[in-house]
């Protein structure tokens, strides 16, 4: 993995709100095709980290590089080009209430200048993205007409419709029942393995990270399967743990489970 290009780099990034540090000197590198699972308690800075990676939040100090470009000095208009290469699933889905699901999913295709999608192709690509998340029959519905899990899936479709090389997921399974949460995780792994995207996923559920690290999408069977049962391996998964804005752990799942840090251990559960 070390020879693969760095897609996202945080270099001693500090972000604070009203004098309170949300991120404190956070540094890491995410390489192409890598999956990163970011864990931490509520208020530990997980969402701020993702928003900083997107350039939605400006760091007080330090630098953020995405696709080799420094985001920290960029103006909003310049950031649009970089953001078109990133997909983001927001915690509350953040679908636009006043637009139908079709219009929501079509939004990045029509509004991101760098995407260059001809208008006649938009409908087909939206249908394709919604089929990917198994929501093909919801084109004309409004977000308020869908269940929480369906909204999350529609938001995933919107995040990946432009086929971005880097996808950021903010608590994709938060507030969902175990079956729906598994469906969402299966979609995330499918997206990662089908499109070979670099993935950053914020979660407080250890089982989500475990799925990400040990399962891969089998396109023939159309479902997840354990990744280590043959020649094909799951992409490398790195776990990160944030505590009060500081990155206190970064490493493999084995190292995470071996950690003696009492805060880190709170997130670790025995593997199934």
């Amino acid at each position: 993995m070390a020879d693969l290009p760095v897609i996202l780099r945080f270099d001693r990034v500090t972000v604070s709100f009203d004098g309170v540090a949300a991120l404190e000197a956070v540094s890491f590198e995410a390489r192409e095709g890598e999956s990163r699972v970011i864990m931490g308690a509520a208020g530990s800075g997980k969402t701020v980290l993702l928003k900083t990676a997107l350039g939605l939040v400006k760091p007080d100090s330090g630098k953020v590089f995405a696709f080799g470009k420094d985001l920290t000095g960029m103006r909003e208009k310049e950031l649009f080009e970089i953001r078109s290469r990133m997909g983001m699933l927001f915690q509350e889905s953040a679908l636009f209430d006043s637009l139908t699901i079709e219009e929501n999913v079509a939004y990045p295709l029509l509004n991101q200048k760098a995407v260059h999608c001809p208008k006649r192709e938009v409908h087909a690509r939206v249908e394709q993205a919604l089929e990917f998340v198994e929501l093909a029959g919801t084109l004309a519905k409004f977000p308020s007409e869908l269940s929480g899990g369906m909204r999350r899936r529609a938001a995933i479709a919107r995040a990946v419709v432009t086929e971005p090389p880097l996808v950021l997921y903010d608590s994709p399974t938060a507030g969902l029942d175990p079956i729906t949460a598994y469906t969402i995780m299966a979609l995330l792994i499918k997206e990662r393995d089908v499109s070979h995207t670099t993935t950053l996923m914020v979660t407080y559920r250890y089982q989500d990270g475990n799925l990400m690290a040990h399962f891969r999408y089998n396109s023939k069977q159309g479902g997840l399967e354990p990744a280590h049962n043959g020649a094909v391996q799951a992409p490398e998964t790195v776990f990160m743990v944030l505590h009060e804005g500081r990155l206190i752990f970064e490493g493999s799942q084995d190292r995470l489970e071996a950690s003696a840090d009492p805060y880190v251990r709170k997130f670790v559960k025995p593997r199934n």
Binding site: K51, L54, L56, E76, K77, F80, R83, S84, M86, M88, F90, Q91, E92, A94, L95, F96, D97, Y107, P108, N111, Q112, K113, A114, V115, R158
Partner: protein, 264 residues
């Protein structure tokens, strides 16, 4: 609060920091909204949607307000004019007070109550559900998409609504003058028409235009700075209505002073 000693200075600065910062943020937002008038893309669909919501949506309340304020003005003015035996001039006073003051101010207050609150709550809800962040993440400037269309729509609709309110108010005054005070229709409408000069018409159109700019910007400003979930949305909505209501009176005083000064 007055700084009583050198040691109080940091406290005073702390107290001033927030309002100064808010003031600055408001003008930054206003600057960006006006700058976007000249920049692409222009979201004309949103502009027309807002024109419908603000203009057509406010028509009934503005018409009712105009009608009753005209009728009440006729009643009150006739009573005052009776002292001088000049009841026949009721139309003049109704006309001047409506076109110069009541029409612009009452219409603006109605639009502020209905639309500044609507803008603050809609944008506030979008803010707390991360839809504003999503918009930015998906390549759209929220000021261009949300604020500028509301600004254009309010600035074009409020002068029209005010004009309608003025005419409906004069009509309300005529009903009272004709059927309650026994003033002839020709006499009433003549006095209504003849007293108005271009300065009044200008005043009657310029005031709502300026009020409209302020209403849209205040509504959007409070919406976009919403924090704290649904409670925060409620707070922003209240703040938007209160601030725009007060600002209408402050601006009215300033503008009236300008017109009085220029006329003299």
């Amino acid at each position: 609060m007055v700084a009583s000693s050198y040691g109080d200075r940091p406290k005073l600065l702390e107290l001033l920091k927030e309002p100064v910062s808010e003031f600055q943020d408001f003008f930054l937002l206003a600057g960006r909204a006006y700058r976007n008038l000249l920049r692409r893309p222009h979201y004309w669909d949103d502009v027309f949607l807002q024109m419908d919501s603000i203009g057509v949506g406010s028509l009934v309340i503005v018409t009712l307000t105009g009608f009753f304020s005209g009728a009440v003005m006729a009643l009150q003015m006739a009573r005052a004019l009776q002292t001088y035996g000049q009841v026949g001039r009721t139309g003049m006073l109704v006309s001047i007070s409506l076109v110069r003051e009541l029409g612009p101010v009452l219409s603006a207050l109605m639009v502020a109550a209905r639309n500044a609150s609507g803008m603050a709550s809609e944008l506030g809800s979008m803010k707390v559900t991360e839809q504003i962040d999503a918009m930015r993440a998906l390549g759209t400037d929220p000021v261009q998409k949300l604020v500028t269309p509301r600004l254009i729509a309010t600035a074009s609709m409020l002068p029209l609504l005010t004009t309608i309110a003025d005419f409906v108010g004069m009509f309300g005054g005529w009903l009272i003058a004709r059927f309650y005070l026994g003033i002839g229709s020709v006499q009433y409408w003549n006095s209504v028409w003849k007293i108005l000069v271009w300065n009044d018409v200008l005043q009657g159109l310029l005031k709502p235009f300026i009020f409209a700019n302020m209403i849209a910007l205040v509504g959007c400003y409070y919406g976009l700075r919403t924090t704290g979930g649904t409670q925060g949305v409620g707070r922003s909505t209240t703040q938007a209505v209160v601030a725009s209501g007060i600002m209408i009176f402050v601006l009215d005083l300033m503008l009236t002073q300008c017109f009085v000064y220029s006329a003299s």
